[in-house]
Amino acid sequence: MVAGEGRAALRLLIVQAAWTYERLQGVGVGFASLPLLEPLRGDPARYRAAASRASEYFNAHPYLTGIAVGAAARAEIDGVPGGTIQRLKTALAGPLGSLGDQLFWIGVVPAVMAAMLFAVSRGAGTPAIALGVLLYAMVRLYVTVWGLRLGLRSGLKVSAALKASGLTDQVRRVGLLAGFLVGSAMAPLFQWLAVPAGPLPWWAAPALGLIGGILAAWVRFRVPTARQITLVAMGAVLLWNGR
């Protein structure tokens, strides 16, 4: 374990707190990097240059930012030239952002939420939610620590190490699992929320909604969001019934 690794991992849990349009996650990355740069304190000029570089413009998926934090800190300690470290961070930002979005925001999160929705619809109740949140929090912590260690171990060779780790191969699998779980949750969920709508069967409203959503995603012109459409439809119902 590298000195300051634990504190850096904890700081990565709030890496986006000072997010701005100017530096995006930059200040958060600097904040998380400081404990790792402690060995440079003996050379104040080097330390300040490293702290300055660490706080520059940067953005990636928050769960995977630790990979860049670790790699850049390792490079700083190894005495790699500043320009090379800046290029390393620039090269990592896009791929780590895209990978994290696909893996977590479009994969793991919908999969976990769909599993919870399914469980709740079958009567599992609040304990299912508590269990899901606990397991997810463990995954979140594990990924943060794993990413930081991967970066610290690899330094400038982090891209190759990331590829060798197999994380990128998980994107497709997690995506398929998310698709399956979201699909599985729908019918039980709508049955659980079923409300008789006059002469129409309970599944008429969700079925119409599902078809509308698929068509809206397929058409090329801009369609209002489901939230906007729902609020407008509710306004129409209130106006109609208040005549």
Binding site: A17, A18, W19, T20, L24, V27, G30, F31, L34, Y47, R48, A49, S52, A54, P62, Y63, D101, I106, M113, M116, L117, V120, R122, G125, T126, I129, V133, A137, G175, L177, A178, G179, F180, V182, S184, M186, A187, P188, L189, Q191, W192, L193, V195, A205, P206, A207, G209, L210, G213, A216, A217, T225, A226, R227, T230, A233, M234, V237, L238, N241
Partner: protein, 226 residues
């Protein structure tokens, strides 16, 4: 219809934590409507109601990808308020209006995120020289200030949302009867729209579509047999 002040304080605290989890702290599902709804329902002594509201709003949230610079709704405090509103009558009649209430509040709460970022930017500019000079204390100061800004934002959003919901509960301004049921039907249809839109947008490959369809088949089998 009245809620104890201790419970109100708990709801505001829960809403604040959910607001922080959205972007600044952890990002570990504590801002997801289903999780927030479960917690709010538990605090209000009506977990089933919290789960129903949370589940319906969660389907809308599945259509949102919270990428840094894009605008996105904040469902945390909105879900807490929606659960409070839903507890005013039979769920079939109040679920729809509560969902509408939650959707509206989520959009308004989401609009406060850029304000926090502008405040962060102001702090950043005030410390720009020190940051460029590698002053570690400036880095820490700017970062903690950012967390403070979001904590205040989340608290204010939580207080406003809970106060509005509390007033709605006390005044009994919740549509019930046939109108309430019609609103619930609309909310369920809208939730179906949101999930289908989110799933279609995310399913870039035919494989994911096939797996989603297999899932739909599995779900239907569960409904028919279990």
């Amino acid at each position: 219809m009245t809620i104890e002040w201790l419970v109100v304080a708990g709801l505001i605290g829960w809403a604040t934590l959910a607001g922080l989890d959205l972007a600044s702290l952890l990002q570990a599902l504590l801002s997801r409507p289903l999780v927030v709804g479960a917690g709010a329902g538990w605090l209000l002594g009506d977990p089933e109601n919290g789960l129903r509201v949370g589940a319906l709003l969660e389907m809308f949230a599945l259509d949102v990808v919270p990428v840094g610079s894009s605008g996105y709704p904040d469902f945390g405090a909105a879900t807490v308020a929606a659960v409070m509103v839903a507890g005013t009558g039979p769920w079939q009649e109040t679920l729809g209006i509560a969902t509408g209430f939650g959707l509206g509040l989520a959009s308004l709460a989401g609009a406060t995120l850029p304000m926090t970022r502008r405040l962060n930017a102001r702090t950043l500019r005030a410390n720009a020289e020190r940051l460029t000079g590698g002053d570690d204390q400036a880095v820490e100061r700017v970062h903690w200030a950012g967390l403070g800004h979001d904590a205040v934002r989340s608290l204010v959003v939580g207080v406003v949302a809970v106060a509005v919901a509390y007033a709605v509960r006390r005044a009994g301004w919740v549509a019930t009867g046939d109108t309430g049921i019609a609103l619930t039907v609309v909310a369920i249809g809208g939730a179906g729209w949101a999930v289908a839109h989110g799933a279609t947008t995310s399913a870039r490959s035919g494989h994911r579509w096939r797996w989603a369809l297999a899932g739909v088949g599995t779900g239907l089998a569960v409904v028919l047999t279990w």
